[in-house]
């Protein structure tokens, strides 16, 4: 049953989405919503869309309660937050959580950053076919005869021929009047993509740096999800050695040890070779690090693997360098030095959380 409230609800959601759009930059850099990912939707805390009225400020009001306790005893956080004239302890207590689908979010992101839709890589497979009625033909099986069109045709002919009598409005269709529904067979194509995230978990990548990577990867996921039918994500962490982990471990591993970037690139190549044939998959590889590699030797090796193994199969390779107080940040210069004029390699420096939006634009703005 369609309830009347659904109109008002839709209108409300429209307003809220407007809010999210306005404050997208803030939402992104806060990353608050990401703790609550669940399935296909994300809960976003938006400040209650309130109708302003003259009302009392929160603090001075106080009130009356019921229960045990002596004067001077504190009320617990939740007490006294409801009811007349009372309110929370902190600002912004009136928060409304809105479920927004990832698609909607990505759409907002895409519009805000004016991201181009991705180029068709021609890596589509036909997965099924489907028939659809699309028009009208003069011939066809009787079972598909379009009654209304046929009638109209017959009426038109009779009027033109002068055989139509309004007193006795009898319409008799002849062979030429008959109209039939016609169909077209459509091929459903599907294109798939895989994203491989690699992250440096050496000692110099702290909590904040990892949080930035987490937020950024969330948005990259969200955007690519809307561009491809199926999206796989794989995660590789590396210090001196690389290993594949699940999403949770990826974002929560404690940092340790040195850095051998080449190890990650090699592992990435192995995974791609094994699971994602380049003919069927759009491949995206991202690497986040603070840019502090172990040795110039390893850097040289990394770049070689990148050039020979990863780039030929990838749609793009993104290197994001997160600013850290410890890292030298050398690696980004090495990458730029070698691939400066290659379209497929995109580098981005992320100074802090506020830089996330721009970095996303760097990566996805070229429509690779």
């Amino acid at each position: 049953m369609s309830l009347k409230i659904h109109q008002d609800h839709a209108r409300f959601r429209q307003i809220v989405k407007g809010r999210v759009r306005q404050e997208l930059r803030k939402f992104i850099s806060k990353g608050e919503m990401l703790g609550r990912e669940g399935g296909k939707t994300v809960s976003i805390p938006v400040p209650q869309v309130d109708i302003p009225r003259f009302r009392f400020g929160d603090r001075q009001m106080g009130g009356v309660g019921q229960g045990e306790g002596e004067p001077g005893d504190p009320l617990s956080q939740s007490d006294g937050q409801d009811g007349a004239g009372e309110a929370g302890d902190q600002e912004g207590a009136h928060v409304l959580e809105i479920d927004v689908t990832i698609e909607e979010l990505a759409e907002i992101l895409g519009e805000e950053l004016s991201l181009p839709h991705l180029e068709d890589k021609g890596k589509e497979r036909i997965v099924s076919t489907r028939d659809r009625f699309v028009g009208i033909k003069n011939v066809g099986p009787e079972s598909l005869r379009h009654f209304k069109r046929t009638y109209r045709q017959a009426l038109r002919r009779q009027i033109a021929a002068g055989t139509y009598n309004p007193e006795r409005p009898i319409i008799i269709p002849v062979r030429e009047d008959k109209r039939y529904r016609s169909w077209r067979t459509e091929e459903l194509r599907e294109s798939n993509a895989v994203i491989v995230y690699m992250m440096d978990v050496s000692g110099s990548m702290g909590e904040e740096q990892k949080e930035i990577v987490r937020i950024e990867s969330f948005w990259i996921d969200a955007w690519l999800t809307t561009q491809y039918k199926g999206l796989d994500t794989r995660f590789i962490i590396h210090d001196a050695v690389a290993r594949e982990v699940d999403r949770d471990t990826f974002f929560h591993t404690r940092e340790s040890g040195g850095t051998m970037i080449s190890s990650a690139y090699k592992l990435c190549h192995e995974i791609l070779e094994r699971d994602y044939p380049v003919s069927d998959w759009n491949i995206y590889t991202f690497h986040f690090s603070d840019g502090d590699n172990w040795s110039a030797d390893d850097t040289k090796q990394s770049l070689e693997v990148l050039e020979e193994k990863l780039l030929p199969v990838s749609n793009m390779f993104g290197y994001g360098q997160v600013h850290s107080p410890y890292g030298s940040g050398q690696f980004i210069r090495d990458v730029r030095g070698r691939f400066g004029d290659t379209d497929k390699v995109i580098t981005s420096e992320i100074a802090d959380r506020d830089g996330i939006m721009d970095s996303i634009k760097d990566f996805l703005g070229k429509g690779k």
Binding site: I5, A10, R11, R53, G62, P74, S76, D79, Q81
Partner: protein
């Protein structure tokens, strides 16, 4: 669409009709006097929808109902809240029952509903409300939809937002159509007669005595007094008014559809006001009666445990929060006991021997009579003011709390009777809203609008005040300001169409505070 008309179609299933008939016998037996009541069964989703619309599914469309629906839907999905019933102040009264309530719940809810309905019908503060509100709301709905079709959804919706932003600026104690308290907003004609222009009244005297009895100095003084009076008379409005919406409807430069929208918002605001004014009483009354009817009449032995469980949920105090159901029902019971035992009157008041008071029982048996009287003539403020007693505050473990800025937390401040009572009264005064009057619609002689906030110790929320003034500006189309205080300093907050300013003003410009009786 779930609507009140569905009752004509199917109505209640038979077993519920039987329960209704049974409960009605009990309710009438106890003397409850209510409108004919129709029950409807609705499912969760419909209940949430109806509740979002404040009980009126045919209301005008607006996004805030959608917001409320989102909130209700979520909290009911996660089991944080459940609406068992909803009852509409209308004649005939319509009440919604939740499909899937257990049988004992439905009994409880019906008893609860009849008491609410009795309250709607008999309480003086509901006297002015439109008892055909379901129809009226539907009319409002079609009017607003008509405006939307004609002038654009967004435009109308924006104006509704503006009106809602001002919808607490009504005169609670002087609603249109109320029989009580017809307050004189305008000066009487007699006053005007006495103070005719240019006509300085002289004291009566024989001609030769006139220059002694009416010396020039005296006449001058009289003339000045008249002048002062006549400038006062030129003030617009003559006396400050609390019905700001009503004033704007008459005097703001509105298009006719805007006036129509404002009229609707104002009418609905007045309609809902008594429910805010009698929250404690109304819920207490319903709780009092459902527990009486259930425990004394309607309960089957097998239902006792479930009933007790559900009843205790209704009257539970969560944390240390005040529960209006609980406070109300306990206060009614307190009154019942006092009047049954004759614990009132001069003799009782003057007795200060604790032992005598404790054993005081004159078997007066006036409790029930008193209760029905109380439900007829009181609202929450007078209810608390009149019947709060030392014993009650102590037994109910009530306390006053406030924010302690040093510890950055809310703390219990006091358990003293006077302080608890004062705090509670302050909390429910004007339904918890600041008292604001429109004092000058020609401020600084250039058509600016000036409001005055009667500051009783609590500041306005500045962010909200700013946005509200902007909305007010969009109606009045001239600068709008409000006199108030911030951190105990008088100030005027003003929006002139471009900028918002808060400026301190001197004490003598500040609105005069009404003297309040501190000794209650």
């Amino acid at each position: 669409m779930p609507g009140h008309w569905r009752r004509w179609a199917g109505g209640l299933p038979r077993y519920l009709r039987e329960i209704q008939a049974e409960i009605e016998v009990y309710a009438k037996g106890f003397g409850l006097d209510y409108f004919t009541t129709y029950f409807e069964i609705v499912n969760y989703d419909e209940m949430n929808e109806i509740a979002s619309y404040g009980g009126f599914p045919t209301r005008y469309p607006h996004w805030r109902y959608g917001m409320e629906y989102e909130r209700l839907k979520k909290s009911s999905t996660y089991g944080l809240s459940k609406i068992y019933e909803l009852v509409i102040n209308n004649d005939p009264c319509t009440a919604y029952l939740l499909e899937g309530n257990s049988l004992v719940d439905q009994k409880l809810v019906m008893a609860h509903v009849f008491a609410h309905c009795d309250f709607f019908k008999n309480n003086a503060f509901f006297g002015h409300t439109n008892r055909r509100m379901i129809d009226e709301m539907a009319n409002h709905g079609s009017r607003i939809r008509g405006y939307m079709d004609k002038y654009g959804t967004e435009r109308v919706e924006n104006f509704i937002d503006v009106c809602l932003s001002l919808d607490n600026l009504i005169d609670l104690h002087n609603p249109p159509g109320a029989f009580f308290l017809a307050r004189k907003e305008n000066r009487s004609e007699e006053d005007d007669k006495m103070l005719g222009p240019g006509d300085v009244p002289r004291l009566r005297a024989k001609a030769y005595m006139d220059k002694y009895i009416n010396p020039p100095a005296f006449l001058e003084q009289q003339r000045k007094a008249i002048e002062a009076e006549s400038t006062k008379a030129q003030k617009f409005p003559v006396e400050p008014t609390r019905d700001v919406l009503g004033f704007l409807m008459e005097h703001a430069p509105l298009k006719s559809w805007e006036r129509g929208v404002m009229e609707i918002i104002r009418e609905e605001s007045y309609y809902f006001a008594p429910q805010g004014q009698t929250k404690i009483m109304n819920e207490g009354w319903a709780t009092f009666w459902h527990s009486k009817i259930m425990t004394e009449k309607a309960l089957d032995a097998s239902e006792i445990v479930d009933y007790a469980d559900h009843n205790s949920m209704v009257t539970a105090t969560s944390g240390k929060r005040l529960n209006p159901y609980k406070l109300g029902v306990e206060l009614y019971r307190h009154i019942l006991e006092r009047w049954n035992k004759g614990q009132f009157g001069k003799e009782w008041d003057e007795c200060d021997d604790m032992k005598t008071r404790e054993k005081w029982d004159k078997a007066a048996g006036l409790g029930m009579k008193k209760l029905f009287e109380v439900r007829k003539i009181h609202n929450d403020i007078t209810f608390i003011d009149e019947f709060f007693t030392y014993d009650f505050v102590r037994e109910q473990k009530l306390f006053a709390f406030g924010y302690n800025p040093h510890h950055r937390r809310y703390e219990i401040e006091s358990r003293q009777f006077n302080e608890v009572k004062q705090k509670l009264l302050a909390q429910i005064t004007n339904v918890g809203q600041p008292i604001i009057r429109l004092s000058d619609a020609n401020h600084e002689n250039r058509g600016d609008l000036l409001l005055e906030h009667q500051h009783d110790g609590v500041d306005l929320d500045p962010a909200y005040a700013r946005e509200t003034l902007k909305n007010l500006y969009s109606v009045w189309k001239r600068p709008c300001g409000i006199l108030t205080k911030g951190e105990n300093k008088p100030l005027i907050a003003k929006f002139d169409g471009h900028t918002y300013k808060e400026e301190p003003i001197s004490e003598d410009q500040a609105p005069k505070q009404e003297k309040r009786d501190k000794k209650r």
